[in-house]
């Protein structure tokens, strides 16, 4: 079920009403949440509910066994069972065909012609998100950072909680699971903040992302026919599209969770105001980058030890992060580019420069623009169909073979879309800038601003042929 669909507009108020009617019965409330979450997910394809249930049962059982098991060997075996099951599911559904194709290509390259069969596998929506979420539970229990839950319903609700089930934020068990253990009290101010966040998320998705898609699809699908400036603007628009799409989803998810009395972690904190790449990764997809930090980077040694190990750790994390996004070399290249942009900061110890300073000075604007440009160029790999396509796109973009921008005004429709994008992006950056200056972690709308934004959605949003959320494919 999509957040920007009529189905969800009916589903949400119904679930909201029944949920709060069950306020006095925690167990019933949690059971109802599991049921609602399974309906939400099953609306897309009910067959894959079995995968969520399987993952839930496995990690719940392993959590309980870890509690009763003292032997290190046995505990390790249990942890590895969880890792193998979760990563195995992910590998099969997401990466099986990629590995087969890559092996065939590699053998062909060395002159060995082999025949291999790929499978017609459907990628279950959200598998990358919920497997990471359940894994974090088992790892935290193994490390003794978290007591395993003995309530299966609570655990099932934690794994399948519908607002963040299919595209995050990837919650930590330590943060979300205890919220299922305590009785939720309805707070109207908190719920209203959720409504405002939902409106803001819908604006970013339906107005910014979906309108940008109009040009992005044209430019990326026929990149050889556009001028350098059009290609650059196409990449910029993709950067805005993916930001509007994904951060919009996260905002809606956080807002919906607030309606049910839950707090989800901030996933995007104005990433396009970052002053360097390190700061960008502290502001972009925070739930994933902190997951990699806590469960891969730090266990590998993090920034401790020799410089060579630090560099290795950074490279591993960025490459794995790229690969997490999709079974394509383009994502790995995207991760590698970010690693190469990050490493100089690590080497010259500038990676934590802006940790304490959230607010921005006007004098820092050139750095923000520079960071935006390099992030934009890297996005080309993220959007392109292949490495070859991305390379050609960037080469054409850097060849300065023209500064025409015909694509944005060749028809009345193009002019209209260009105008809508310009207006909406200015509104977004205006509200985000003022939030950053107030050191808010999210855009906080007043009731009047919320109405203004809702009106913009009504008359500028894409309702007829909306694009799917991009991160559903991950």
């Amino acid at each position: 079920m999509l957040f920007n669909s009529i189905d969800f507009a009916v589903f949400l108020p119904l679930v909201f009403l029944v949920y709060w009617c069950l306020q006095r019965h925690l167990k019933s409330q949690n059971t109802f949440l599991v049921l609602a979450s399974y309906i939400f997910y099953g609306w897309w394809d009910w067959r894959f509910l079995s995968l969520i249930l399987f993952s839930t049962v496995v990690d719940y059982t392993i959590g309980l066994r870890l509690k009763s098991q003292d032997g290190l060997k046995q505990r390790k075996a249990l942890l590895w069972t969880s890792i193998i099951v979760n990563i195995g599911l992910l590998m099969f559904f997401k990466y099986f065909n990629f590995f087969v194709d890559s092996f065939v290509t590699a053998f062909t390259f060395f002159g060995v012609d082999i025949q291999a069969r790929t499978l017609d596998i459907i990628l279950p929506v959200g598998i990358s998100f919920y497997t990471f979420q359940t894994l974090s539970y088992t790892i935290d229990v193994y490390k003794g950072k978290l007591k395993p839950t003995t309530d299966f319903i609570q655990f099932a609700a934690f794994v399948s909680f519908f607002p963040q089930l299919v595209a995050g934020p990837i919650e930590r068990a330590k943060h979300l699971l205890p919220q299922f253990e305590i009785k939720r009290q309805f707070d109207s101010t908190y719920a209203m903040s959720g409504i405002y966040l939902i409106i803001w998320g819908l604006f970013k998705k339906m107005v910014i992302a979906d309108n940008c898609a109009f040009f992005v699809n044209q430019i990326f699908e026929n990149s050889a026919h556009f001028s350098s400036l059009e290609l650059f603007l196409g990449a910029v628009l993709f950067g805005l599209q993916i930001y509007g799409d994904f951060s919009g989803y996260s905002d809606i998810a956080i807002g919906v969770a607030r309606l049910f009395g839950f707090s989800l972690m901030v996933n995007f904190s104005f990433p396009y105001f970052s002053r360097n790449i390190a700061e960008f990764w502290r502001r972009w997809h925070i739930s994933l980058s902190t997951w990699f930090r806590d469960y891969i980077y730090i266990p590998l040694g993090g920034s401790r030890g020799k410089r060579a190990y630090q560099i290795r750790n950074v490279l591993i994390v960025f490459l794995v992060s790229g690969f997490w996004h999709g079974a394509n070399w383009t994502f790995i290249a995207w991760g590698a580019i970010h690693a190469l942009l990050f490493l100089p900061l690590l080497i010259f110890k500038r990676n934590r420069t802006y940790v304490e300073t959230f607010k921005i000075n006007m004098s820092q604007v050139p750095r923000i623009l520079l960071t935006f440009v390099v992030v934009t160029i890297a996005w080309v790999f993220f959007r392109a169909d292949s490495i070859q396509h991305a390379s050609n796109f960037i080469l054409d973009m850097l060849s300065f073979n023209g500064i025409t921008i015909d694509v944005f005004y060749k028809t009345a429709k193009s002019q209209l879309f260009a105008l809508m994008i310009l207006t909406s992006v200015l509104v977004m950056f205006w509200l985000e800038w003022s939030s950053v200056q107030k050191e808010n972690k999210e855009v906080i709308l007043s009731p009047y601003k919320a109405i203004f934004i809702a009106i913009l959605i009504t008359f500028m949003g894409v309702f007829k042929n909306p694009s799917d959320f991009i991160y559903f494919q991950f």
Binding site: L416, T458, K464
Partner: protein, 302 residues
């Protein structure tokens, strides 16, 4: 706490709904007074009430028959009411709309491709939103009501809640209404007689090898349009538009037919597979006028 929340949400919702409904109503009002789409063009920019003929159809009708050429050759008065991306139910609706305005015509030229005359489906067309500003009229409302599905429901219920249709079709309704505020004479790609043409794109000359295709006029709306014409003393003339592959062989029927499926026999006169370019349009329009004379059809309504 829940009461406070619901109260706040209701106030917010009502304010939002009120403002968007006012804007949507204003948007439809402006479009209703403009000539942007064919429906309001007919009402506001076509002062004549008595025509010798009108052309209804889809994009191939819009771009094949130039009423200005036909009028000058035959000294008659016609108007092209065809709309792109529409099908026979929309043509029927356009004829109803024409009649509801109190206008009269002697002939109704139903122009369509050979395949459209035999198409047995009756779907809602992509451009049927162009009647949204007349959604309160019974024939428009009934038209939307006969279809099922999300889009048809949005169009139908817009008569009570205009924001539904205006937001769903915001680029097609809301922004054209803003343009119409500035210039109420602005038309959406058609001239003052309702005609539009595709440019010549320098295709190489290549003769068309026509294959025959029988046309049995199986589309139920042909009979519906015929019945509506009969009821209003209008004669129906079916015009088969040029094809770049098929020579249509019409089965005998009880209305006049002009068959131009093979009238344009060179690819260079086509813009794409189903639309002739401006030269092809002139060939067809001249041939149409000649056929009218040859077949002894008296278009004149006075």
């Amino acid at each position: 706490m829940m009461k406070v929340f619901l109260k706040k949400l209701s106030v917010l919702g009502l304010l939002f709904l009120g403002l968007t409904c006012i804007l949507s109503f204003a948007s439809l009002h402006v479009l209703r007074g403009s000539g942007f789409y064919k429906s309001s063009f007919l009402v506001n920019q076509v002062p004549e009430d008595r025509f010798d003929y009108i052309v209804i159809g889809a994009s191939d009708a819009l771009t094949t028959l130039n009423t200005k050429t036909i009028d000058s050759m035959l000294s008659v008065e016609g108007v092209n009411l065809a709309m792109d991306d529409t099908s026979f139910p929309s043509h029927y609706l356009m004829l109803q709309h024409f009649l509801s305005e109190g206008k009269q015509t002697k002939y109704c030229v139903l122009a369509a491709s050979y395949s459209a005359f035999d198409f047995e489906g009756a779907p809602l067309s992509n451009n049927d939103y162009r009647f949204l500003m007349y959604g309160n009229r019974a024939y428009v409302s009934d038209y939307y009501k006969q279809f099922s599905g999300k889009t048809a429901n949005i169009l139908y219920y817009s008569k009570w809640l205009p924001v539904l249709g205006v937001s769903y079709y915001n680029t097609e309704i809301f922004y054209p209404s803003l343009i119409s505020i500035v210039n109420s004479n602005k038309r959406n790609r058609f001239d003052d007689k309702g005609n539009y043409t595709y440019p010549v794109i320098n295709k190489p000359s290549r003769m068309i090898d026509f294959k025959t295709a029988e046309v049995a006029f199986k589309n139920a709306y042909v009979q519906k349009i015929k019945a509506l014409c009969d009821k209003n003393n209008i004669k129906l003339l079916c015009y088969i538009t040029p094809s770049d592959s098929k020579n249509a062989i019409p089965k005998s029927v009880d209305f006049d037919i002009i068959n131009h499926s093979n009238a344009v026999n060179d690819h260079k006169y086509f813009y794409d597979e189903t639309h002739v370019n401006s030269i092809g349009r002139e060939i067809c329009s001249i041939a149409f006028a000649k056929n009218i004379v040859q077949q002894g059809i008296d278009l004149k309504n006075r």
